[in-house]
Subunit: 242 residues, 2 copies
Amino acid sequence: MGPHDGSVQGVQRSPAEEARTLVAQCATAALATLGEDGAPWSSLVALAATADGTPVLCLSTLAEHGRNAARDARASLMVAAGPALDRGRVTLAGRLEAPTAPEIEAARSPYDGFPDFTYYALRVERVRWVGGPGRMAWVAPADYHAAQPDPVAPSAAGAVAHLNADHAHNLLDMARALGGHPDARAAACTGIDRYGLDLRVETPKGAEPVRIAFAERVDAPDGLRAAAVELARRARGATVES
Amino acid sequence: MGPHDGSVQGVQRSPAEEARTLVAQCATAALATLGEDGAPWSSLVALAATADGTPVLCLSTLAEHGRNAARDARASLMVAAGPALDRGRVTLAGRLEAPTAPEIEAARSPYDGFPDFTYYALRVERVRWVGGPGRMAWVAPADYHAAQPDPVAPSAAGAVAHLNADHAHNLLDMARALGGHPDARAAACTGIDRYGLDLRVETPKGAEPVRIAFAERVDAPDGLRAAAVELARRARGATVES
C-alpha cells in the first residue's frame, strides 16, 4: 500500500512501547490469581511500575487476591487505556515474587507499613498487547523491559483537544501538504504520541485515517508543542508554495 | 451511632443491588481464564447481561481467552465503575457454559454470526462486591440474580452534576433540615441512587458525609427529578418553619 491510500503511515510506537506506556500511565489494573481449587479470580488492584516496567503490587492479605497470591505465585495483570474495546490494553503474565528494596522504593504504596499488606513484583514471562481491532502482538519480555514509556502520553489527551479546538486549519494544512490528501476538506486529530499525529481526514471519497510524523522523535514531556508547531509551519510553507 | 453523627444513614442499595447495577451498567469487564498450564490470564472483554444478571460473553476462538474458555470452563469476571480504587467493583466467579437461545438474544454481540466467535454464559457461583474502602460483602448468587439493577444509575452522574451546578441552596437546605446538620455551611452532592442522595456537608467541625433518603424508592429511569424536587420542597418547608 502506498503513502496516499489513506492507511496509517509513518513511524509509530512499537508494541513494546505501547505496552510500557500503558503500564506507566495506569494506576490500577485487573489482576487474575488462582483460588485454592485452581479456579481464576479477577480483581481490581493498584499498580505501580519500576523504571524497567516491572509491575509492583501491594495486596491485602485479608483480601481474596492477597490470599491467592500467597498460595500460588502465578498471576496475570491486564492494564487498559479505558473501558472501551477500541482502546489499547496489555496483558502481562508471570509470577509474583518478593520485590527488591529498590523496587519497593519505586512503587511505594499508600498502604506501606500496614501489617496486612504485602508487596509483590510481577516477574513478566508473557506480554500480549492489543491496540484495537486488528492491532495486536506478542512482545518478548526483554523487549518490554527495554522499551521506554512514551514521555508525552500523559499530556496527549490535552494536546489532541487543543489541536482540534484551536488549530483545525493547521491540521487541514498537514492533511493536504504532508498527508497525501491535497483535496482534504477537513481534518481532526485523533491521537498524538512522541512520533507524530493521527488525523481523521475528510476527503471527497470519505473519511481516511492519516499518520503525520514529527521531524524528530519527542524526548521530553513538554516537547509536543514545538514538534506540532514545526509540523504546522512545514505544512503551511508547502501549502503556500503550491 | 445516631442519626446526627455524620455517618452515612438511611436506606441504601444492598450489595446485591450494587453488584447487579454494576453489571447492568458496564459494557466491558476483565475476564480471568486458565491457560493450558493452569496459570491465570487476564483480558478485556465485552460484557452483556440477561434480565437476571447472567453475564454473556462473545469470545474469539483465536484469542487467548477464547482458547482458554474452550479448554477449561472456570472463569471470573471483574466489573468496575471506573479505574479508581474508591469506586465500586464486583467480581463474579463460576463456569462458562453455552448460553440458551433467549440468553443469546438478550446479549446479541456485534460479532454475532462470525465463525470464530463463541457465546458463553457465566453460571455465577461466587459474588464479591467492593464499594470502596471498608465497604464490601459476599453476595449469595441467588440474591444477586434476584436483585434489580438501579434504574436511575445511567442518569446518576448527570443528576449529581446538575444538582451541584444549579441547586446548591437546595442541597444546603437538605443538609440543615433533613441531614441533622442545622449548622451546615455548604453541601455538595457526591452520589445519587434510587433510594436517595449522598451529601458532603461542610460543618463547623469539618466535612461530613450525610445520607438523605427519598420519600419513596424511585422505580423509573426518569423518576429522579420528581424525587429530588420533593426532597427540596420538604427541606425548604422545614427551614422556613424553623
